[in-house]
Structures are given as C-alpha cells and as structure tokens.
Amino acid sequence: MESGNTILNATSLVNRIRGVKETENLSDIDDYISRLKREKLTKTVVLVGVTTSSVAAGAIETKSAIENYIAERELDIDIVEVGSNGLCSFEPLMDVQIPGKSRIVFRNVKANDVPFILDGTLNNYLPPDNVVGQYRSQLHQPWMGIPFLDEIAFFKGQSRDILALSGIISPASIEEYIAFGGYSAFTMAISRLTLEDVCNTIEKSGLRGRGGGGFNTGQKWKMALAETANQKYFVCNADESDPGAFMHRLMMESNPHQIIEGIAIASYAIGASKAYLYTRNRYSITVQRLENAIQQAYNAGLLGHNILDSGFSLEIILRKGPGAYVCGEETALISSLEGKRGAPTLKPPFPTQKGLFGKPTVVNNVETIANIPLILRKGAENFALKGTEKSKGTKLFSVSGKVNITCLVEVPLGVSISTLVELAQGVPKGRKLKAIQMGGPSGGCTVPEKMNTPIDFETLKAEGLAMGSGGITVLDDTVCIIDTIKFFINFIQYESCGKCIPCREGSRRMYEILESITRRPVNDEGHNTLERFKGIILLESLAEVMRDTSLCGLGQTAPNPVLSALKSFREEFEEHIFDRKCAASVCRNLRTFYIDVDKCTGCSACAKKCPTNAIIGTPRSPYFVVEEKCIGCGVCETTCKFGAVFFK
C-alpha cells in the first residue's frame, strides 16, 4: 500500500501501535487502518469464507465462479478470502460490501448461484433465500429490511470474544489483524510488562486450560517460570482430534494471527525463546495459513531475534504431526515433538519441570492461547466478568450431529447445555432429542432431562460429564446409543498408544463386548443371552479398573461414554441383550427381515442371494424369512425389485 513516498505495511502499523514516531504521516496510517478495517471502501469487495468445512461444501468452486463473474463483466471488484463465522451448515458463505453500504452475508452460495446473487446485489436487490443478515456499522448505510447479524438468534445468543474477528478479517493478512488491534497486547507485554506481570494477569483472570483438565493457566505458567533452566519451551497443542470437534481448526483458519500472538505472549511470560506449534499434517488449510502467518510475523519483526528491541527473542516452529489422537495428551505430544513414538510418559516429572528435551515446557491448547491477547488487551477483570465463579470467560463449542445448523459458537461458561442446542436450532423437525454427547470420545452422554445443567468445569464433573475441548454431538431418536458408544470405544481402542494394559486391552475388550451385544448369536454356544449379560457386568468392572490404573488421561477417561450410557440408557442395553432389538434400527446385525406377502411376486431373487438360506418358498408365490436363520445382512432388501422386503 503506497501513500506519498512511504510504503505502508505491517511495520508501520506496528510502529503506530507502539507510538514510535516515524516519517509516515499519522493521518495516512489512520487512513490505511480504516481501509484495512473496510470502514472506507473505494470499490466493492466480495468476501468468500474458505475453510476446511466450507471447502467441503464447495467454497473453492464458489470462489472461482465469483472470479469468472467479475472477469466476464470486467468489473472492478476485489475478492478476499476470509475465515468462517461459525455457521458451518450455511457454507459456502459469501459476504458482499458495496462502498457506503453495510456488509451483507449470504448463505449456501453454490457456484451456480453466484451470478444470480451478485447480479441482484450489485443492483440493490437481495435474493431473500440466501441472505443471512448484515453487519451493523455506523459508518455505512444499512440495507432495508435486512436483519442485523447481532439481531439474529445465532449471534445474539453468543458472546463472541475469541471469535470476534473470525469470518470478518482475512486470515492471510497480518495488516488487517493489526488494524483491528492485533499484536498490541504482545508489543505492550514485551515493552512494558515483566514476565511475572504477565503471569499474574493471566492468573488473576482465572483462565483455565480449555483442553479439558481445567488447570489454571497462569499458575501453570508460573510453575515453568519458577524453574531455572538455560532453555524453556512453549508448546501450543493444535492437534485437535476429537470426533465432532472442529473449533480449533476453524479458529486457526479464520484468525491465525491471534494464535501466533497468544503463543508469543505465553513464550515471553515463561521465558521461552522457542515455541512449537504442533498441528496435523492432514489439516492442509490450517497448516498453510499458520505457515503464512508465522512468516508474516517474522517479516514484520514480531518474531525472531531481539523483537522490537525489547531483548526478547522468539522462534516459532510449526510441526506437522502424523495424526494420532493420543498426541493431544501433553506428554505424548512432547514425545512426538522429540521425534519419538507418540506415547505418554510418566508424570511426575510434569512438563513444567521436565518437558520437551528435558527442559521446562508449558503446553497449552489453541483456545487457551487465543484468550491470552484479549486478556492482556482488555484486562483480567474484564475477562472475569463472563463465566461463573470458578469457570471464567467464554468457551468455544462445536455443535454437530442431529441438529439443524452444524456450527461453531462461543458462549460464556455457565450457560446451560440447552443454550447450545438452541443456538444450533434444535434437532430436525419431527425428531426427538435423545442425548447429548459432550467431551469427545472420552466424554459422556447426557439426557434431555439434564439439559439445564450449567456448563462449567465443576458442575459437569459432578454430573459425570466432561467438557473436553468442546465438541458437542447432538443425538436424536434415530441414533442407537449402543452403536454410538461402540463408535467411541472403537475410536479409543484404535487410537490408544498401546503402552499400558488397562487402556490397550481394556478398551479392546469393551469394544468386543459391545460388538457382541449388537449382533445376533453367531452360533448356539458363544453369544447367548447370559454371556451378553455378563458382558455388561464386566463392562462396569473393566471401566472402574481402567479409570483407576490407566497411565494417561486417554485411558482414564475412556470408559466415560460407557458408564454414562449405562447410567442413562440402561433399558436400551437390556433391549439389545434380551430382545435382540435395536429400536433405532441402527445395529444392522440385529435387524430381522420380513417379506410383504402382498408385494412379493415370488421371483426367488432374494432367496438365491441369501447367504444363510434363510428365505424359503416356492416360485411364483410369496417367500418367507426364517427368523432364526436371518443374520440381518440386508442383502434381500437390496436385491428385491418390488420393495417387498422390510425390517422391524
């Protein structure tokens, strides 16, 4: 960006926030900032949300459709890639901002919708089906008849601090982040605050680790700060891998600089000159944005040697993990960073004493880190305003499963579970909410009756639930609970590092028990009712031993889904064991097929395909299924051309 003779860039912005007098004209810089914030526009901007989830929904095609649209008509319009505002079900999202007018958000913009929407918008007609709402801004003229975003239930019910800039700014631009106040906390910290000051502020804010354990972050930092060592490390755990959790990925893809700034502050606070950002190789967009962000921060002099002449040096190294669930556990993550097998090691010594390469190390997750710049910028007291007495601040939740809108939301801690379901606009029409699974594979299920439970560390723990990292899966009556926990236990037994017996063997045995419940007896001996019943009793005792003796959190919490399901859905287990029925018809091996006498033409196609010869009859008259022989494979159903086969 040129202005007069000087080039305006991130460095000038950094100088501006630091109050360094440079040759640039101050008003030029302020002008530059307002342009970056899109307060003043000279031409129309189209902003497309490009994140992992929107790419799956077709954002890349949408973007090229927009490019084609502009090129064909030779329009002077900028296209900017932005992140996600959390409305994943509405992706691809497209925002349009015409000079002087408010920025407007469109939903589900498929490639072939682009000409229609843009044609309309550029001519002051908004296609009503696709409009989500408009941004509120004093500087711009609002569109008539279009709701403001902060009036829409989805945004109204949230308290967006960490996500404040997600979906608004370009993740590829450090300038935009700085224009919105970014890196001011870091530059302030390294120029004016001591290490203890930063730790104290964070401790005072009451911020607790968002990774599940809920340990006070400031205290953790102080433990590492108190250690004497010639080298300390800060590690940001960005290896998000709970099934159904996508908070961190969207966050990093939407606003990577907030994470980089958080890491920089945290490293300063504990006296670490090297920080590792451990993410996953598979998260290609995340990796690309983080790499870009780190490079930009280096270029702007915000990372590297003797940052802004403060005497503080920091190197951030991005590590792309091979993708193992257990590497979310801090000691396993450290082993992986060291180049070893990702398996947890014994605690004590804790990483704050002896972590990466034997040096004091603090491991925080992405969300914890994302809070840091905000706390420093707005003050610990401000942070503590939200949340409950012991659980302060806001928390990200990704809500998915059987909901109307799969979304990422940020709410103050202490809101009820039902708030989250309401934000996601509940279960699809005509269905009944059955359960809510919280805290990933090692979390627990809660029933609709407990929906008013406030979400905070203590209450959830007392309820036998876990906050985990914030993945919420909503289950309705089309879901079989046993099938769901079987999925989670299968995940655990597959992802266990295999080091300790309770986790490795225990989870595998649990899976086998659940498998035997969800299948018909293979032969007359094996899986009879008594065996299956004994399996359930065994599940409970195995769960207790796993919790008591496992080496790391993965194994200790692995039995949670089983225990909570046994508590809340015992009838469903009994139904599977004694009646061999799955009410939701999900456990396919428990289905029994029947032939509709009226529809069957007696073609014998199903009987020929049946692997167990369970279908008998004479040609040209209706066939029958012998229940005892049926293994529920469903081949007959797919074979029948007349729709005569059905199951109960």
Binding site: L346, E495, C500, R504, E505, R508, L538, V545, T549, S550
Partner: protein, 574 residues
C-alpha cells in the same frame, strides 16, 4: 535422608528418593511387577505394581513414583488386588494359552504371576490376535502372540545394548514389538546378543532351539558327532542342578555329554588358547607396524555384528582371528579329521555356548570351508540343561571325566575367556612373552577383573606400556567408538563383550540368574586360574603340537586360512 511412611497401617522408614517399589522391597513388602526391571528405566506400562495412596484419586504405580514424607500406602487393599487381577486377566484374555507347549513353561513370569494372583477362571475372553512367528534369525525366535508388551526387550536393546533394533509399532490393540519397517529379525539391525531373551517375562522371545537336530544326528550311526563346550558353560550350570551357584562342573559335563552320546568331547578353552596365540601375534604385528590400532577383539560374534552393522568403517581394526568356537570347528573338520581318519563330511560338529549370537555366527558364509559349516549346530547352555534332563542324566550319580585328546588340555588363560577381561588377560600373558621373551612376573592382572563396564588398563611389557580397554555390555560403546574414530584413543587393544560381565552373563545362559550368580561364576573362573599349572596359552603342549604338525607358526599362511576370517559391512541399515 530418611523419613517415615505408613504402609498397610504399619510405619516404616524409607530413604528419600527411593521409588515406592524399592522402599517397600527394602522393608520386605512385596508388590508384584511385570514391566519393571532393575537396571532399566521405569515406564509404568504394565500397571501391575499399583498401590493405593491416600489422597490420590487413582491408583499409583509403585515402580515410578517416589516416596514422600508421611505417605499412607495400602499395597493390598481390595481395590488394588481387584485392579491387579483385572489387569492380568486382561493380559491373559488374548494370550495363546499354550503353556504346556511353551518354551517358558514352568519358568514364566506371567504364569507365576497368575498363580500368585490366584487366577483360576477365564473371566474375560478376547479375540486372539494372530501374529507371525519370526523364525528368521538362527539365534532368536520372536513369537509376538505371547508378547505382553512390557517393553523390557525394547529397553534392554536401547538402554543397555545401544542397538535399538526393537521398538513398539502400531497403535492400540494392534501394538506390537517390531523392527524397522517390520522386517524379520535376521534382516534387521539385531546383533543376536540375546539380552532381550534374558529379560523377556514370557515365551515371546526365546532361542532358536536345535535340540531335535542334535538328537537326530546322535542317533545317526553314519555321523561322528563331536561336541565342544564353551569355557563359561561349566561354571553356569551348577545352580540349575541344585549345586552351589558358580561351581565348576567341568568333569560332570564331559561325562554327561558322553552319556548323551557324543563320540568326542572337546573343550573350547583349547581353541581359546589357539585364539590367544593368533590374536597376540596379530596384535604384536600391528603394534610393531603401527597400523590399524587399536585392535578390536573379535571373539564376541554379537560385537562383530555390531561393528559390521553400525561402524563398518572400523572393520580394518577388527582382529581377523576367528572366535574360539569357530577355531575349534575349523580344526575339528580339518586337523582332527585327518588325524582320526574321518571324512570331514561325516563329522557333525556341535558346540555348547552361553550365547545366541554364536548360533548366528556358525551359520555365516565366512565360517565354512568348501561349503561345509565349521560348526554344524550351536546349543545354548539352557538347551544343554534340557538335553541333560531329556536323557535322564543325574549329575549327582556320575563320575567326572576328562575331555578328549587332542583338544582336551587347556591353559587357564583360555578358560578366562568366559569373563569380561579374561580374553585380554590371556592375550596379554602371551603378548608379554612375544614382546619381551619373558613370562609376566605375575600373570594375574587384577584391574581386568573389576566388575565395571569399562576398564582401562596399562600393562608394562619390558620398558613399554601396552594400553588395553575392556568393555562389557554395549551401554557406553558409542562414546568409546567416537574416541577411536577421532583418533583420541591411546589403546592398543580393545576387548568388547556384548553382554555385561562377558559370556558368563550371555544370552544363552539359564534364566533367573542375577548379579549374585554372575559374580559366583567369575569367582569360580579365577579360582581355576589360581590353581591351574598351565597359565599361558603358549605353554599348552597340545597347542604347540598342532602348530608343529600342521599350522607351522602363529600367523602363518596356513593358520590364516584356517583360523582367521574376513568380516564384511552389514547391509541391514541400507
């Protein structure tokens, strides 16, 4: 510093810094363990050693947690016992259950623990995992189905032996112990030292047994079966037969071997004398010429393989002298075959060794002549015990006998090969004679008999000093090799034995022997040396005879052909 803790309601005094397990052990309280092992770092993998600590929510592994002042521990509360039992039942749930046929039947830690924890019913049954039996290595067999993933083999391979062939691979219930790229053991970096076998609590690692072959050959009338036994074997068997640990039962073993049906019984210590002659001559030459120093010993096949595998650039330094086993094998099938007028193809040569790497060594191409193996088959000490029991031989009721001539006489220098430092001691005695023309005033070199992993000694030979370094166990070998490679080592001769303590603690020795037994074995060897009249190899009349009759002199062309080998770069790492 000492303080008190409360265990099961009783106050005991413990030392600061001790783990709970050690503290309890010192006070006579036993907690079962599986993965924990003295000398290896604790990993807390098996969780069997859990105890209940007041104020801690979960159970605590005693192997890895340190005692704290005022701790209240319960080692056998119902909760703890239930947890231990369940853990063991989980381990057994997919175990192959073929104990009756297992290599470790009766000698298995898992079996013993099941007895101890009173497991009498299969409460948990799991799907058995099918694993491939790895029979590729002549020395070590791996049966992953029996593996309980305690990780001892991995730790001994990495922490003690610095080889790091084994590591956990796979995830979750598919975790197994494997080598790089899941290669079979013989195609990995394994040096076959057998230390993993010694620490394995189950039958997942065991020697490649050759007992059946040996029995078949003994009963084959057209073959002349000849056996040789290693110096370490005679002092390692006593406790297995209820005798005093370390007692030398040389005569009884010879007698037992004859009873088993071997036609000739030779003592490998004789070949050790020959090895001394060759190695001392070689060393003397290299010192005189000042080339390829320091000379690295070559009598330990695991060490030879280690060098070939990891440091092929040091191969020129390796002594070319074959190991005593192979020297004996070579002369049996040439010199002895001529003397006794037996076709060398009809000789079946067996050797009994405290070692599994010897099984690999005997199968090397370099160890053949005209396509015939110098040594046909190697049995470990453990296999000898089985063979003795199988033949119903009662050691209490047999008379000791002498080994056969012409290879029945040995000097005590040859016998010392069994212990770390012994090889060097034997070579130095002869080297002294070669360099000065005089015998050493006192042949006993006490510094070489210390129980440390690295011994550096300078020995006066006339006016000059010969520096030797003796290493046993490969723990610190990398450092030593670094000094050699940088040219900073002033040693003339470096003796390396892959197993700590030398052959008396080899990978083929009876299970369950600990430091105490190893010390007793070494003591027994030194006692033999004290009372022996022939203390140096060059005074062994039969050794002189073989040189006179066939080999001319040490280091001659003929000797080189028969008693020396060329070692090649290993390919496993490529």
């Amino acid at each position: 510093m000492n303080f008190n803790i409360e265990v099961n309601g009783k106050t005991i005094q413990v030392r600061k810094g001790d783990t709970i397990l050690v503290a309890l052990f010192r006070n006579g309280i036993k907690v079962p363990t599986l993965c924990s092992m003295k000398g290896l770092s604790p990993t807390g993998a098996c969780r069997i050693c859990v105890v209940e600590v007041e104020g801690v929510s979960g159970l605590v592994t005693s192997c890895s947690n340190v005692v704290e002042d005022g701790m209240k521990i319960n080692t056998h509360s119902p909760r703890v016992v239930k947890a231990r039992k369940t853990l063991l039942e989980l381990l057994l749930s997919n175990h192959p259950d073929d104990c009756l046929y297992c290599e470790r039947n009766g000698d298995c830690e898992l079996q013993n623990l099941s007895v101890e924890l009173n497991i009498r019913e299969r409460r948990i049954s799991g799907r058995k995992i099918r694993h491939k039996l790895d029979l590729s290595s002549p020395g070590v067999v791996r049966d992953p189905a029996k593996c309980i993933l305690c990780g001892r083999c991995i730790r001994v391979c990495d922490e003690i032996q610095s080889v790091s062939t084994l590591e956990f691979t796979g995830r979750g219930s598919k975790t197994h112990v494997g080598t790089t790229m899941n290669r079979d053991l013989n195609f990995s970096t394994c040096i076959a030292c057998g230390q993993c076998v010694m620490v394995c609590p189950t039958g997942a690692l065991h020697e490649h047994s050759n007992i059946d072959e040996v029995q078949d050959s003994i009963s084959n009338k057209s073959l002349t079966t000849i056996v040789q036994y290693a110096p370490a074997v005679t002092v390692s068997l006593a406790e297995t037969f209820g005798l005093k640990p370390g007692k030398d039962i040389n005569g009884l073993i010879v007698s037992a071997l004859r009873k088993i049906g071997f036609k000739y019984v030779f003592d490998t210590s004789f070949a050790a004398d020959l090895a001394i002659m060759e190695a001392a001559t070689e060393l003397n030459e290299r010192i005189n010429l000042g080339v390829n120093l320091p000379v690295l010993s070559s009598c330990c096949p695991a060490w030879v393989r280690y060098i070939e595998q990891f440091y092929p650039e040091l191969l020129p330094n390796l002594s070319t002298t074959k190991s005593p086993q192979q020297i004996m094998g070579a002369i049996i099938k040439s010199y002895f075959a001529n003397e006794a007028k037996i076709n060398h193809g009809n000789i079946y040569s067996v050797s009994i060794m405290p070692c599994l790497a010897k099984k690999n060594e005997s199968q090397r191409v370099e160890m053949t002549s005209k396509g015939v193996f110098d040594v046909d088959v190697v049995l470990s000490t453990r296999e000898l015990v089985r063979l003795i029991k199988l033949n119903g031989i009662d050691l209490d009721n047999i008379e000791p006998q002498q080994a056969d001539s012409p290879f029945g006489i040995r000097s005590s220098a040859g016998k010392l090969f069994a212990a770390s430092g012994g090889t060097t001691e034997g070579i130095m005695r002869t080297l002294h004679f070669l360099r000065t023309g005089k015998e050493m005033t006192s042949p006993k070199i006490n510094e070489l008999r210390l129980v440390t992993s690295v011994k550096e000694v300078s020995i006066a030979m006339g006016k000059e000093l010969v520096n030797v370094t003796v290493v046993s166990g490969l723990t610190d070998i990398e450092k030593l090799i670094a000094t050699v490679k940088e040219g900073k080592s002033n040693a003339h001769f470096i003796e390396v034995m892959a197993c700590s303590g030398g052959c008396i603690s080899g990978g083929g020795q009876p299970f369950g022997a600990v430091e105490k037994e190893a010390k007793a074995r070494a003591r027994s060897l030194y006692e033999i040396d004290d009372v022996e009249t022939i203390k140096v190899a060059h005074k062994n009349a039969q050794v002189q005879e073989i040189y006179d009759k066939q080999l001319e002199k040490p280091g001659s062309e003929k000797a080189k052909k028969l008693l020396h080998a060329k070692y090649l770069k290993g390919k496993s790492l490529e």
